[in-house]
């Protein structure tokens, strides 16, 4: 039994139900959406005259000439992006953890992480395109080009640029998750012990630390794999076009004015879900194989070496990965102010405010809409998260590893697989196409991130402060509002910033739940992709990035100002 709380208020009656309510808000739509996808896939959609059980939609799907190519692309891009990201993260940690370079990397994580996928993808596109910065920087002195070459670098048929776009965004995410795992298990001792036994630093980390870290970051890795296989916005910007990846094709069928195409879209979404399950199983097989090989490597007692090489390679790769985002954003900035800019000039001939001025009027309502959606979704997610964590504390609930799995469900079940069904349900119940629907769907994705971000600091809070406060006469609510929440101001604001950035970045959920009628910076920016006007795209992608970064600045500065005279909270 935990210390009793005597608060006979409505809030006290609600609190024990908070975890259940949160799960319902988060997982209810996922379950309903999957059902809404599976039913039409097998021919059941009464509103469109489908009331039997048929495999016609699947027959149509496998008759589509692009099916093999699209399915293969989904598998290869997903597996390659995940494996590369994980490898890079492991090498960076193995070679650099504990060093000063590592602390610099840590500090760069949050901003890199908050750059929306779409903006990062545009930035990369403008770097590597035949008329992009890299080509300009090397022309004509190196390449001999005096006009953009006719090369298919962007949207290459093998999905290489798509993989690159995914890796630069997934590395910061996995690295953050790894850091969280590292702080939970005492890795320093394990590593030091291995060093004392004569292992080289990289080998020591890989043999003594990595297996335990991997066990902790497995769920995030699964989430990365599922996301990379099924991402839509990055794929629209960087992915192949003929055929596209499977998820983009599903979206096309969903948007077909011929409603009967929904049977096909649903079947394809079910197929996509099956592919993700297959990839996860394949990954699991890979885990087992690598674990077996790793055991043999450990048993061999090889002390390793090559520290220098791994250090050099990993820091170069990390710099390249981070540099892609940074220079990409910088490129967007230059393009948004560019006047006439001819190839192969490195910079535009003139800078102008024209693009910004011309789009300011259009931009404003979209910025407002984006802000409202992100603020409401984040606020609700934050309140639910705090209610869950406080209920956990007051009623002595001990969430097990299964609870953690539930949190990852919305991140591992592909968006395209359940949003498709959710939209189908929404259309026939008439609740789609408004702001509320978009907010409700955003909460599904904001919640897990807010929870994951806040849970550790909330639980790590020294409970003795609470005991002292209660011995001094404060009730449970008093402890929460007067002691715990103020002390946790910084992590709360950080969690809110993470949630905000997640909401800003959502493309498919906004598009499908909003039925194309709710416009956010992300949907607009991605919609502009096909037009190819770099100046306009840059304006939208930059606005999107700025909005996502802003709350991180708040999370940094508000505690610094509020607690400027409180030494004990400066590093909390």
């Amino acid at each position: 039994m935990n210390p009793r709380c005597d608060t006979p208020s409505a809030r006290a009656r609600f609190l024990p139900w908070a975890p259940l309510l949160t799960l319902a808000i988060m997982l209810g739509p996922v379950a309903a959406g999957v059902l809404g996808t599976v039913a039409p896939a097998f021919g059941y959609m009464p509103a469109l005259g489908g009331d039997g059980l048929t495999l016609n939609a699947f027959a149509m799907l496998f008759d589509w000439p692009g099916i093999t190519r699209a399915s293969t692309l989904s598998m290869t891009t997903g597996l390659a992006a995940t494996a590369l990201s994980l490898l890079l993260v492991a090498l960076i940690c193995a070679a650099w953890s504990g060093s000063r370079a590592f602390r610099i990397i840590e500090r760069m994580l949050s901003p890199l992480l908050s750059v929306p996928h779409a903006a990062a993808a545009f930035g990369l596109a403008f770097l590597i395109a035949p008329s992009g910065w890299i080509a300009r920087a090397t022309s004509p002195w190196l390449t001999g080009w005096d006009r953009p070459p006719d090369l298919l670098i962007l949207q290459d048929p093998y999905g290489m640029s798509l993989i690159a776009g995914l890796v630069v965004k997934e590395v910061p995410f996995l690295l953050l998750m790894t850091l969280a795992a590292l702080s939970q298990i005492r890795t320093q001792q394990a590593r030091d012990t291995a060093l004392a036994l004569g292992y080289s630093p990289v080998t020591a980390w890989l043999k003594a630390v990595f297996p335990r870290v991997y066990a902790q970051i497995r769920l995030p890795v699964f989430a990365v794999l599922a996301f990379s296989m099924t991402v839509v916005d990055v794929s629209l910007i960087l992915g192949p076009t003929t055929p596209t990846t499977l998820s983009v094709q599903i979206l096309k069928w969903m948007n077909d004015p011929d409603l009967s195409m929904r049977f096909l879209a649903s079947a394809a979404a079910v197929w996509q879900l099956a592919l993700v399950v297959a990839a996860l199983l394949l990954w699991r097989l890979g885990e087992i194989t690598i674990a077996a090989l790793g055991r043999r490597w450990v048993a061999s007692g090889a002390r390793g070496g090559a520290t220098r090489v791994v250090q050099t390679v990993s820091i170069a790769a990390a710099t390249l990965s981070a540099g892609t985002i940074v220079f990409g954003i910088f490129g967007l900035l230059v393009w948004s102010f560019a006047g006439f800019w001819s190839f192969p000039d490195l910079l535009p001939g003139a800078f102008t405010l024209k693009t910004w001025m011309r789009h300011a009027m259009n931009l404003w309502p979209i910025v407002t809409e984006t802000l409202i959606i992100a603020s409401v979704a984040t606020l609700i997610a934050l309140l639910l998260t705090l209610a869950c964590l406080e209920a956990e504390e007051r009623y002595g609930l001990r969430p097990g590893s299964r609870a953690l799995w539930l949190l990852y469900v919305p991140l591992i079940v592909p968006q395209i697989a359940f949003l498709t069904g959710l939209q189908t349900l929404a259309i026939f119940t008439g609740i789609d196409g408004n702001r509320m629907a978009v907010i409700a769907v955003h909460i599904i994705f904001v919640l897990p991130y807010v929870f994951l971000s806040l849970a550790d600091p909330f639980r790590a809070w020294d409970a003795r402060y609470g005991h002292v406060a209660r011995a001094l006469g404060a009730g449970c609510d008093g402890v929460l509002w007067r002691v715990r929440l103020p002390m946790l101001l910084r992590p709360i604001l950080t969690a809110a910033a993470v949630g905000f950035a997640v909401s800003i970045g959502q493309y498919l959920p906004t598009l499908l739940a909003g039925a194309g009628r709710v416009q956010t910076l992300t949907t607009e920016a991605v919609a502009l992709a096909s037009g190819g006007d770099r100046r306009v795209i840059s304006v939208y992608a930059l606005s999107q990035t700025a909005l996502a970064l802003l709350p991180f600045a708040f999370a940094l500065f508000i505690p610094a100002i509020v607690w400027r005279n409180r030494k004990g909270l400066r590093h909390a």
Binding site: R464, A471, A474, G568, R570
Partner: protein
């Protein structure tokens, strides 16, 4: 006439079937009972039980009576049992004065009256003018004095001490120890001290109960 003081009536605390604490005793007002035992013997667990914050993993039974009233089932904030831990646990987001105000019982009404009491309290512990200071900037001895005063201002009916002197250096330790025991005696509080330090027990001068 109820028995004044703190009474532990057959308090038994178990974890995983193992008995950690088994105590029946009575502490008179102004008396200090020292509970000694090695770390892990359940000394702090006993204090958790008395203040009402025992973790769900323990099985506990027995009554805690304060001045004859059974407080075993009361919420922690209704027990009027003060506690000092090894760490001072001053709330880091509040100033020194606000920390004391957090403790000062609510029956003292009015801004000015409360402020006066806090200023007097600060003078009592030799920290006059410290009201607006950040607790993070105080020395260990100063923090200990603020923590003690914060507890006393809440008007406790008993005082529990969980090795509160072990973090202080030797010189400060004697000073703070004397301050705490003097204050408790002056206010007629029953004191329960848990420690593994014999010097603490000697300074307390009362009876000693051994655990483990």
């Amino acid at each position: 006439m109820p028995d004044p003081g703190l009474t532990l009536n057959s308090v038994v605390i178990r974890r995983d079937g193992r008995t950690l604490v088994d105590i029946s005793d009575h502490v008179d007002p102004g008396e200090v009972l020292t509970v000694m035992g090695p770390s892990g013997s359940g000394k702090s667990t006993l204090l958790s039980y008395i203040i009402g914050s025992l973790d769900g993993g323990f099985e506990a039974k027995g009554l805690v009576l304060l001045n004859g009233t059974d407080i075993t089932e009361l919420a922690p904030e209704q027990r009027h049992v003060g506690i000092l831990f090894q760490d001072e646990l001053l709330f880091p987001h509040l100033s020194v004065g606000e920390n004391l105000a957090f403790g000062l019982r609510a029956s003292v009404k009015g801004r000015a009256a409360r402020q006066d009491q806090i200023n007097v309290a600060l003078e009592d512990i030799g920290l006059a003018g410290f009201a607006d200071r950040d607790p993070g900037t105080l020395s260990g001895g100063q923090k200990a004095r603020v923590a003690l005063m914060r507890m006393l201002l809440s008007d406790p009916k008993a005082l529990l001490l969980d090795e509160p002197f072990s973090r202080l250096d030797t010189e400060r330790r004697d000073q703070i120890r004397a301050l705490v025991f003097d204050q408790a005696r002056a206010k007629g509080l029953p004191v329960l001290l848990v420690t593994h330090d014999h010097a603490d027990a000697d300074a307390a001068g009362g009876r000693v109960h051994r655990l483990g």
